[in-house]
């Protein structure tokens, strides 16, 4: 029987809807994963069998590859809804737009960032990383990739109605996510050097908390500007 939907059920409904769409079109998520694997595999091929050097650069290389792979699907976060008219319907929900954006960002992270983090231990093997460093890399990606989706959503909103949005999006977002890269890759390097993880993970956590609050508000404002 039909009844009024609560704000919570609309929020969960948007996440489910976007995940269902991602499942129906697996090629988008798969291409990001394959891109991640290919880029991460090119470095050992280019550098050669320098085990020590590969182990040293592995955290940075894997983080850069994950960051670039996450960029691939960012521009699609709102573009398809904009092109097929769904974005108007999303703007007319009773849920505040910033919460709608948060729901869509969570769905984007679940269909891209989580998968990148999950595949990272396998890719780390070719860099000869010890098991505990691989675990730290996985955790740093798990903490850092939602930041990429959150910060990326601001760029996706800003470049929504512009031509060549994909390139412009990367130009806007890549400098903004530099701190995530520094502390994400830095966490693994610090662990390998025996310095402990607390500082890097705390900073990533703090950035995530701030972005969780501010990024959806900024994205909502950029979407309204783009649609006027």
């Amino acid at each position: 029987m039909s009844h009024s939907a609560t704000s919570t059920s609309i929020f969960i409904g948007i996440i489910k809807r976007d995940l269902q769409l991602a499942l129906r079109r697996k090629s988008d998520s798969l291409s990001a994963l394959i891109f991640f694997a290919v880029v991460a595999s090119l470095f050992p091929l280019g550098i050669g069998p320098e085990t020590k050097l590969l182990m040293q650069i592995a955290p940075g290389m894997l983080w850069i590859a994950a960051l670039l792979a996450a960029m691939l699907s960012l521009h699609k976060m709102f573009t398809e809804d904009f092109m097929d008219g769904s974005l108007d319907q999303i703007l007319l929900t009773k849920l505040p737009l910033s919460l709608v954006v948060l729901a869509k960002t969570i769905a984007h992270w679940l269909s891209s960032g989580v998968l990148l983090a999950l595949i990272s231990p396998i890719l780390a093997l070719q860099f000869n990383l010890p098991f505990d460093s691989v675990v730290v890399l996985f955790l740093s990606l798990l903490l850092g990739t939602p930041l990429l989706s959150l910060i990326g959503s601001i760029g996706a909103g800003l470049t929504l109605a512009s031509r060549g949005g994909g390139t412009l999006l990367s130009l806007i977002i890549l400098p903004l996510v530099a701190p995530v890269l520094i502390f994400g890759a830095g966490a693994v390097e610090a662990y390998q050097a025996g310095l402990g993880l607390t500082a890097h993970f705390s900073l990533l956590g703090a950035m995530l908390a701030i972005a969780l609050f501010l990024a959806p508000i900024a994205t909502a404002a950029s979407l309204r500007i783009a649609l006027e």
């Binding site: 029987m1 039909s2 009844h3 939907a5 409904g13 948007i14 079109r25 769904s86 319907q89």
Partner: protein, 230 residues
């Protein structure tokens, strides 16, 4: 199970009461002006859509029909003037206003990878209404689309997509205010007549409709239809 049924009945009752109260409200434009791309489309426009009336907007291409409809539902802020729903500006109680309207733009807002039923359920949820697959199927059957109910939207024709988007109007507990941008586009003669009958039936129940259309319609001479030429 009994508790769930009771809760559902309670929600249904609340929705019905809300819709009945909303049926008594009017939508007013007061001295509204719109400028798009540096061109003034209309200035100082005053109009009122009362319960039981259809606002029929016509005009040349680029005259501002779609912009006016977007202003009416709050998607586009006017350059000057205000839009009032009942006794409140629409942006003051945005959530309540949006839960009392259905807006269909000139693009059907359907997901190509979803089936017709999934699309209706998803769109209903976005507009604040939780419906079952059976209710979605019933609305599609009423619109003579039962055969297309389980097909992915990407396999359907433009006219069928438009009819599926319009099947939202046949869902239970209809919203009082319907804002439809070129709803007759791509429809065949029979669907066109069905939609006009549906609009008349809605306003007979004290609903309100704002539509834009290029075509001559058989409801044009109906006393409930207000004409606005931009």
């Amino acid at each position: 199970m009994i508790v769930v049924n009771l809760l559902n009945s309670f929600y249904c009752l609340v929705t019905l009461i809300q819709n009945e109260v909303a049926m008594l409200k009017t939508l007013r434009l007061e001295s509204v002006s719109c400028i798009r791309g540096g061109k003034s489309l209309f200035t100082n426009l005053d109009l009122e859509i009362k319960p039981g009336t259809i606002l029929r907007i016509s005009g040349d291409n680029g005259s501002g029909k779609s912009s006016l409809l977007r202003i009416l539902c709050g998607l586009l802020p006017p350059q000057a003037g205000k839009v009032v729903w009942g006794d409140q500006l629409i942006h003051e109680d945005r959530d309540q206003f949006h839960s009392e309207l259905i807006y269909l733009g000139h693009i059907p807002a359907l997901k190509a990878d979803f089936t017709a039923i999934e699309n209706l359920m998803s769109l209903a949820l976005l507009s604040g209404q939780s419906i079952t697959a059976e209710e979605a199927l019933r609305a599609l059957t009423a619109a003579d689309l039962a055969d297309q109910a389980h097909r992915a939207i990407r396999t359907l024709s433009q006219g069928q997509k438009q009819r599926i988007a319009l099947a939202r109007l046949r869902l239970p507990n209809p919203k009082p205010l319907w804002i439809l941008d070129e709803p007759f586009n791509a429809l065949d003669q029979q669907s066109n007549q069905l939609l006009q009958s549906l609009l008349l039936a809605h306003v007979k129940q004290n609903g309100m409709v704002a539509i834009s259309s290029h075509q001559a319609l058989s409801i044009d001479d109906d006393p409930q239809v207000m004409r606005l030429v931009l």
